[in-house]
Subunit: 411 residues, 2 copies
Amino acid sequence: MSDHIDPAKLDRLAEVAVRTGVNLQPGQDLVITAPLAAIDLVRRIAVHAYKAGGGIVTPFFSDDAITLARYEHAPDESFNRAPEWLYEGMAAAFKSGAARMAITGDDPMLLAEQDPAKVARLSKATSIAAKPAMNPIVGFEVNWNVVAYPGAAWASRVFPDLPVEEAQGKLMDAIYDASRLGGDDPVANWEAHSKNLRERVDWLNAQNFAALHYTGPGTDLHLGLAEGHIWKGGASLALNGVVCQPNIPTEEVFTCPHAYKVEGTVSATKPLAHQGKVIEDIQVRFEAGKIVEAKASKGEDILNQLLNTDDGASRIGEVALVPHSSPISQSGVLFYNTLFDENASCHIALGQCYADTIEGGSELSPEQLKQKGGNQSIIHVDWMMGSDAVDIDGITKMGERVPVMRGGEWA
Amino acid sequence: MSDHIDPAKLDRLAEVAVRTGVNLQPGQDLVITAPLAAIDLVRRIAVHAYKAGGGIVTPFFSDDAITLARYEHAPDESFNRAPEWLYEGMAAAFKSGAARMAITGDDPMLLAEQDPAKVARLSKATSIAAKPAMNPIVGFEVNWNVVAYPGAAWASRVFPDLPVEEAQGKLMDAIYDASRLGGDDPVANWEAHSKNLRERVDWLNAQNFAALHYTGPGTDLHLGLAEGHIWKGGASLALNGVVCQPNIPTEEVFTCPHAYKVEGTVSATKPLAHQGKVIEDIQVRFEAGKIVEAKASKGEDILNQLLNTDDGASRIGEVALVPHSSPISQSGVLFYNTLFDENASCHIALGQCYADTIEGGSELSPEQLKQKGGNQSIIHVDWMMGSDAVDIDGITKMGERVPVMRGGEWA
Ligand SMILES: [Zn+2]
Ligand SMILES: [Zn+2]
Ligand SMILES: [Zn+2]
Ligand SMILES: [Zn+2]
């Protein structure tokens, strides 16, 4: 571990992740996926999980060097396949009641030097194979949570001018602040924060807008909302009856857009880091929900590859509102990590919708979800388009306009 | 990694483990279980596996700190359970053709301070849950291999007077020598070594003894052999058609004793390390194959707990012959690790037999195996009883005596 990572901060992250994040129940098993570099966080999570009365903690580690060994030496056919048995095993764990925790913090540029076609093929094969393990998570069948560890490569990317150990220490501090871990009682702080998000959610659900209209530099977007859409934010009630905080940090309220009722143009306000590449100055045009034109000043080929992954990859499955004054936005840190950056800015996500952001969505067939406007894809990629120059109106079913955000803040 | 571990030796171990040990086939997946401390070896194995044309390498890491967190903080019920879904996942991998590699080298004293009852309960729960994953290995449905990494705690146990990093370097050297990795062409050396073992095996199978008779200090043992027993040693032909070297190192030839035809007394010649405890000066008496008396100068309670694990735990499932002049024996190093110590001495194993050491055994029902003398248990614990003072005779079906070993050497 980096000497510069404050162990008290790391331990508090672990404790809040267990108690508030995944909210592990007595006797409940816990499946953790983590980069090997995050071992110090995983060990602390295991301690807090067992202290909370958890059953069995089972970690799965990925390792950057082993991943690179595959890219450098494996036969070409290897990139069409993923270990299905592993994901089916995890699915069996969730079926038997296990909760899930994912640690992020890998090197965002790990695959930058690798053949993009291989990266895309393996990513697609993995997404397909992982479906049995992802569906119970996306569908909130069990309580789950994602937190971040300040891995060396990631920290150096965020703070390129610092020696790596110092960068890790500084990134730990940034994670700590962004995750609202300070103060005497972070669990109580999280309850208050979650209540604030809940009030926004309740107001938006009461308005029950038909659409949102975004205006700003390079953006004039009419974004229809799915039939029976539900705004969510903060805590989630999983189908197993456990309330969890899926993301730490989280600042967003979000719902399901209508995949066939999005029209106009939108400009990204931050670079998009995807599979080891950075895509800059994205501009797209929607027609009937589909992106029909896509430009970028850098990485346009990666963007087009992403949009062509499958049918749903060029439509959107999530729309999220985040005030420009959010602590993460105000920190000015570009994290190159969706868990953080999506909480710095209003955003939309290409690809898969969250079924539970449509009323009764978890019980709907794919065809029924589609009829309500819910998008389906093997990808879900968040994409920042908020700033202090963006205004948003809600459009009621009667066609009236209600100010939602002005200059990036709640109106 | 310890600076004192010679990277060239570690890399050769990885290469021989992949090419000679598991003999990974083009396109074949590989499941690895390893202590996290062995990451440097696992990374090198991944490189050699992919270079050999392997499909997907999937490592599972155990971590001493996380294991201890469970003992220190988990609720009592946790020790009755193991993650069945994980072992069923591995079983699915083997069914789909994956090979298996296990890395040993954990801290042999890790659980020394823990409640022995908890240790025994968790070990039993894990053995039962792991059956779906262990059966295809024990039954050689796929090619597999075990090798060792010189972990810090293990190295300090073997060389307690050295600073830990130096101990690791020295243990790496000892592993290298014991594993016959030196010279220009270790793969060819292994072929020659395997041929020698094969010649012993062929002679013993041609003799087709009814029993072995051991005499030595504190030992006078009549050990019946199973009906249709087959001596094995060196390379194994797995049912998937791949020849592998299951153990690196290996010096033993072994077969299946008759679980109901063992009579007399036997004294262990080395301490037995079991679940973090050392059992010393074991002396047992067999009647009709069952241990009816067991003494030890230290750890007698652990020994009795072990013998009471289940019905088959007080009978034997393996008998193995190793000359006292084997390189591991001559090194004088006590490794506190079965993979090595069993290759320094003639031994027997309490518990489960290897079905493939009985003719057609892999196709027999448990009842049929039992009728031939094959023992069944959830444990398999090797137990050293050879020395330069032990003589062994073979007893033919006609009751004639044929010298097998004299003063610990092939007669
Ligand atoms: Zn979002
Ligand atoms: Zn999203
Ligand atoms: Zn043996
Ligand atoms: Zn054995």
